[in-house]
Symmetry: C2
Subunit: 409 residues, 2 copies
């Protein structure tokens, strides 16, 4: 809806990335500049902060500290694991949100997150439309998993990919110093989409790449894995394996599944893959180190991609510009131009994005299922370029220091 | 011995660091400049490369690539797990080395490594002296463990400490985003000396420090640990634990010991501590993530300390200068000046250094055994300062590319 005048509420959700704060910074700073937006609020801990009216008054923050968010990892305004029900089944939360939107005169709502957050965003947007309440709702994408549909890539992916490729390069140098055979297995995040694990292929450009890369897109066989490792060790002595936490066997069962733990969205809690693969490697007689990159890969802002940081900031800004221009129920997507690398920022219907997952195209995976093709390298390489300027104090990162003053009506 | 003229042989040994190559670069470049040194050779894979006459001719390398070693992690000339016997028991290897030193007219020998390497260096030096063969033998220190005696600190420690403190800072930001209690346990290298684990205390300067720090210098109790964690979670919701792989219980048994694996030096192979602590945390009802920093902490040259890189280069240079000036059977140590941070480079007797370990002074550990005092911060903070220039290509590290041409007589 055009020319809406009122308050804007931002919130963050889902797992952290190195640049999710760059996106919210872009959005907040742009919103402060917009005449149609009377106050800029941030809800703490995602949608929960909306439900509990836990709002920070961004107008009270120093602009320099908002800019410092560009290099502050994780979600500065908190996150939440809370799934809104279908409003046709139970609309309690939605009615509460509507009441609060009315009370605070919220005319713009920005939700910064991944798949599940885009779903939340879409549901709120559709409920408000059904109720006839005028509010422009925009999803600001983020995820290291790079699995949102409708966008060339996701803010956060480039930095995580740069961390993974840099780490593989360093681990390779460490692994080759002895004359004895050694296998190193690195377990990388990505439940159903192998984008981040695939980024280990970028390290091949340094001459220090992963030898074997296993994505969840291809069914995994432990027997084939052992043969693959044997072949590499026979030829090269050292074998670097990059494996997705989400690899599944031919029956579709997660290789690293811990059946005892699922999150509120019903996803299994993974993490045991590198242990399983280490045992397999030891069973064929080689020394093996297993390294789970764990949360380090999603919060390593010290090695963020400048391209990613700047694009993430811009997608935040563009979200506000699109909303003020009347767009609603959209996620702002990256559309890659032909020719030299550059992006357009385009609003795409949230309903086409929520609950869908984009996986690595099978034609970008080599025939043997153990590596990526040049098409993938061409796709991913521009995303990891550049070193962002970052504040350093005492030789350590200096992050944004926000006042976090609560907004009161 | 003064005015020795002949060839110089360098070799690297022990585990990698982010700056061991900076030291060898400093040594090699200085040696190429010295008139008394006729050829500069590097033995591959430590002392084994001497025994097998596997020498690289450094005179054939491009100077720019030797300088690029300053930011190339791990041991470019390989390492080795090989322990020389006591020559009073078996002098076979020593006689072989003497024969090769004579054959190649080796008058300078530089061994770049940690505790075990200084022991190797000392033994070779004493054997050559006993046999009356003139060769100046100098140990070039390195170890992320920072446990060599006689030196203020060790090359490699500052960069590993910077990696640990940076990582703790990022992990802290990631951990606090949810409203539910969370404990994160980071397992850090250091068998008997807690220096590297202690460096997690530096993160407190960012406001994102570790809450509990356990060093091997203090006997560890799982019951006390559980109480410590409870107290922090009650107060702060999130608890970041930094723990040394080498913590031992009151009976002196490693908490993470895997009795089945020992290396050739008889050290136990550690690594299971974070799993043990994770189970303990879960037993008191909290969610826990366990992160083993593994080899990442010793090879992360992308976040190296400029101070460490430059000091490591200089200690390599000084080793050559001291040797050419007639010193032998020494390790070049860092001696910290009073007042503003600066170092002198002083030769210390290898016999006083080999097989000794410097641990963290007990008075630098707080009374509760869970943190470090200001004295430690004052000691360690200068060592992590500065970001080195590094070559980047395609958004990834670009390391030294050596020709590795074999030296032939």
């Amino acid at each position: 809806m055009k020319n809406l005048k009122g308050r804007a509420v931002f919130a963050q959700s889902g797992g952290p990335t190195a640049v999710i704060n760059s996106s919210i910074a872009g959005g907040l700073i742009e919103a402060l500049n917009q005449d149609l937006i009377t106050d800029v609020l941030c809800a703490l801990h995602g949608i929960k902060g909306v439900l509990t009216e836990d709002f920070v008054d961004i107008g009270k923050e120093d602009l320099s500290e908002l800019y410092a968010l560009k290099n502050t990892p994780a979600s500065e305004f908190g996150s939440v694991r809370y799934k809104l029900k279908d409003f046709n089944v139970d609309d309690t939360d939605y009615k509460k949100i509507l009441e609060i939107f009315k009370k605070y005169d919220v005319k713009y709502f920005f939700y910064n997150g991944g798949n599940d957050s885009m779903d939340t965003c879409d549901k709120i947007s559709r409920f408000m439309e059904k109720e006839g309440y005028p509010v422009n709702v925009i999803g600001i994408p983020k995820t290291i998993d790079n699995d949102l549909v409708g966008t060339d890539h996701c803010p956060g992916y480039g930095s995580a990919a740069k961390y993974v490729a840099t780490t593989i390069t360093e681990v390779y140098k460490d692994a080759v110093i002895y004359e004895s055979p050694l296998v190193i297995v690195l377990e990388i995040m990505g439940r159903n989409a192998g984008w981040l694990t695939a980024s280990s292929a970028l390290a091949s450009l340094t001459g220090c790449g992963a030898d074997l890369i296993y994505l969840p897109e291809i069914p995994f066989s432990l027997e084939k894995f052992k043969n693959d490792v044997k072949k590499v060790v026979d030829e090269k002595r050292v074998c670097i394996v990059a494996v997705s936490e989400g690899i599944k066997n031919a029956e579709g069962k997660y290789v690293g599944e811990d059946a005892s733990a699922t999150d509120v969205f019903g996803h299994s809690s993974l993490g045991g893959v590198c242990g399983v693969l280490k045992s397999a490697v030891k069973s064929i007689g080689y020394k093996c180190k297993a390294i789970e990159l764990n949360i380090l890969q999603r919060c390593a802002s010290h090695v963020a991609s400048k391209t990613d940081v700047e694009e993430a900031f811009e997608v935040g800004r563009q979200s506000v510009i699109h909303a003020v221009n009347g767009e609603t129920d959209k996620m702002i997507a990256y559309v890659r131009r032909d020719g030299e690398y550059a992006l357009d920022f385009v609003g795409k219907d949230l309903s086409t994005i929520a609950n869908a997952e984009k996986t690595v195209p099978l034609e970008w995976i080599n025939k043997d299922g153990t590596g990526l093709t040049q098409e993938f390298i061409d796709y991913a390489l521009p995303l990891i370029q550049g070193e962002p300027e970052r504040r350093i104090e005492n030789g350590l990162p200096s992050y944004a220091k926000l006042k976090m003053i609560k907004f009161k009506l």
